[in-house]
């Protein structure tokens, strides 16, 4: 089975989602169903088929390297859940 509980825990850690222990069996079951749906792709013959990342064959456009935005520090900081002196607050990282 692709989704043993360790795989779920590892994936949740990579996605930075704190999945409680009690939810892991149900999530494993749902992910198993979803990956079961996706599994049929493996059987499709795709030798030599190019990958498609994007619908339009456009080159990445470039724009002049000039300042367009003006200082919006206060309005941007207004939505911060915790801020002080114009800085975002987070738990201490370096002991």
């Amino acid at each position: 089975m692709a989704f043993d509980h360790d795989t779920v825990r590892r994936t949740a850690h990579l996605a930075r989602i704190a999945l409680p222990q009690t939810e892991i069996p149900a999530v494993a079951d749902q992910l198993e169903r979803i990956m079961g749906l996706v599994e049929e792709l493996r059987a499709i013959e795709t030798t030599g088929v190019p990958t498609m990342a994007h619908p339009l064959d456009l080159d990445q456009p470039l724009r002049p390297d000039t300042v367009g935005n003006h200082d919006q520090r206060e309005v941007l900081m207004a939505s911060a859940p915790a801020a002080e002196h114009g800085l975002f607050l987070v738990p201490k990282v370096i002991e």
Binding site: T7, V8, T11, A12, H13, L14, A15, R16, I17, A18, L19, P20, V27, Q30, L31, R33, I34, M35, G36, L37, V38, E39, E40, L41, R42, I44, T46, V49, P50, T51, M52, A53, H54, P55, L56, L58, Q60, P61, R63, Q72, V75, L76, A78, S79, A80, P81, A82, F88, V90, P91, K92, V93
Partner: protein, 490 residues
């Protein structure tokens, strides 16, 4: 006919002839919203005082001699479009209190034309859902039958337009999120060609699939909206240089000689017989107007759902990494350390379906699985696009059902995520290819639920789709039917 049933053209005429002012029109619809929204839950936020001020400004512009097809006309935005000064939740606890410091390009463009925003519309959380049940703000109910879902993810937009709370709304479509709710609520909605409508300020789900578009009660109203919404935007690097067009110009062209393709894959097992019959009758009407109908094949269409459920979650897992509990989102209380702050905030801020898709996306991109899933799905995406290329060498428009079934009861598909994903079986391939597609009402089930017919076109054939839908609506009445709602006047 009452004011809340008017088309955009009729509203403009009424404003021009001073039958009513924008303030009167706005007041009427705000009253209707307060009477009917408690039962429908289509609006997350109603911006009453801002709306009345915008309406007064529109009336002043008109009094000064200005005119325009959208000047003074009320509307509302799906709550995925950023609006300066009005919160933008994306249907999520994560963004419950988020107020964007800027307007999305779509919001800006419609405001400049003098449209009056009445509020923000409910949606599946981060546009991930097909029933509007994943919203943190509760499910939207279908105006035709309030025990039924309205479809999703633009379910609030579809329900509000169908119920006559607003004449038009914006929506977004990543795998069917405009067309599927349009079909289930009996309205008209178009997902434009990828690159037509700017994604600037539209909260990203899967960037290579997301596209904004209008939802309205007829094709002409969609065309009027798209005339303003579609434009090249230097702030969106995927905006097409030829995005703008006049979608009204060809609206009346007769259908004589139109080549219509009907894909066999859209009429197989799983299609509700009442839906099949209504869509077949719709195709017969196109033939009656002179279209040449032929059967075609889209052999890779059956792989669209599985391809999508690799690529869309993969893109989402990257896009939604920005919601970290630090800068502008929900933040968990008392985290042990920085990693715990991220992990707890994301667990608490995202609902179960969003978390599920982020896990799928993270998994398919993780070391050892990338080639087996992500790269493979990108190759199948090419095959799906090739199917359409081949088909459009022979036909101008592809026609089939928008959805396999009419609206289903709330809660019916919540136990199994895969059952819900299959609600989009006919809409997803269009997003993978990036082509335009539209849903028009084409009938009702015996139980009185609307049925939608889907028209798909080649790249930049949005105008042709609107033309076909408009001609269809000149000869049919399905789009004129209104749900049997009793407004409890406030």
């Amino acid at each position: 006919m009452e004011l809340h049933e008017f088309s955009l053209r009729e509203l403009r005429q009424g404003l021009q002839e001073r039958d009513f002012s924008s303030v009167e029109l706005t007041t009427t619809l705000l009253k209707r919203i307060s009477a009917l929204n408690p039962a429908l839950n289509a609006f997350v936020t109603v911006t009453e005082s801002k709306a009345l001020a915008a309406a007064a400004t529109a009336d002043a512009r008109r009094a000064a001699g200005e005119d325009g097809p959208l000047l003074g006309i009320p509307m509302a935005h799906k709550d995925i479009f950023c609006t300066a000064g009005v919160r933008t939740t994306c249907g999520s606890k994560m963004l419950e209190h988020f107020v964007a410091p800027y307007n999305a390009t779509v919001v800006e463009r419609l405001a400049v034309e003098g449209m009056v925003m009445l509020g923000k519309l409910n949606m599946d959380e981060f546009a991930m859902g097909s029933s509007n049940e994943t919203s943190y703000f509760g499910p939207v109910r279908n105006p035709w039958h309030t025990d039924m879902v309205p479809g999703g993810s633009s379910g609030g937009s579809a329900a509000a337009v169908a119920a006559g709370l607003i004449p038009v709304a914006t929506g977004t479509d990543t795998g069917g999120s405009i067309r599927q709710p349009a079909a289930l609520c009996g309205i008209t909605g178009i997902k434009p060609t990828y690159g037509r409508v700017s994604r600037y300020g539209m909260i990203a789900f899967a960037s290579s699939l997301d596209q904004g578009g209008p939802m309205a009660r007829n094709a002409e109203d969609c065309a009027l909206m798209l005339n303003v919404m579609a434009a090249h935007d230097p702030r969106d690097s995927t905006s097409h240089p030829a995005a703008a067009s006049d979608f009204l110009r060809g609206l009346d062209r007769p259908l004589q000689g139109l080549r219509v393709g009907v894909p066999e894959e859209f009429f197989g097992a799983g299609l509700d017989p009442e839906v099949a019959a209504a869509v077949q009758a719709g195709i017969a009407e196109l033939a009656r107007q002179g279209a040449a109908v032929q059967s075609i094949r889209l052999p890779n269409n059956p792989h669209a759902v599985s391809t999508y459920y690799v690529l869309a979650p993969a893109e989402a897992s990257s896009n939604l990494a920005r919601f970290d509990g630090v800068r502008y989102t929900h933040r968990a209380a008392n985290p042990a350390d920085l990693t715990d702050l991220y992990q707890q905030s994301r667990y608490e801020g995202f609902g179960a379906e969003v978390r599920r898709r982020l896990l799928v996306g993270t998994y398919v991109l993780s070391a050892g699985y990338y080639d087996a899933y992500y790269r493979k799905a990108q190759q199948v995406r090419s095959l799906i696009r090739e199917d359409f290329r081949r088909a459009f060498a022979e036909v101008d428009v592809i026609v089939g059902p928008t959805t396999p079934t009419p609206a289903f009861p709330l809660g019916a598909k919540n136990a199994d995520p895969v059952a819900m994903y299959l609600a989009d079986i006919y809409t997803i391939a269009v997003n993978l290819a990036g082509i335009p597609a539209l849903s028009v009402p084409c009938g009702f089930t015996a139980a009185g639920l609307p049925i939608g017919m889907q028209l798909m076109g080649d790249y930049f054939a949005d105008d042709l789709l609107l033309n076909v839908a408009h001609r269809y609506q000149q000869e049919t009445q399905w789009h004129r039917a209104r749900p049997p709602l009793q407004a409890r006047e406030a």
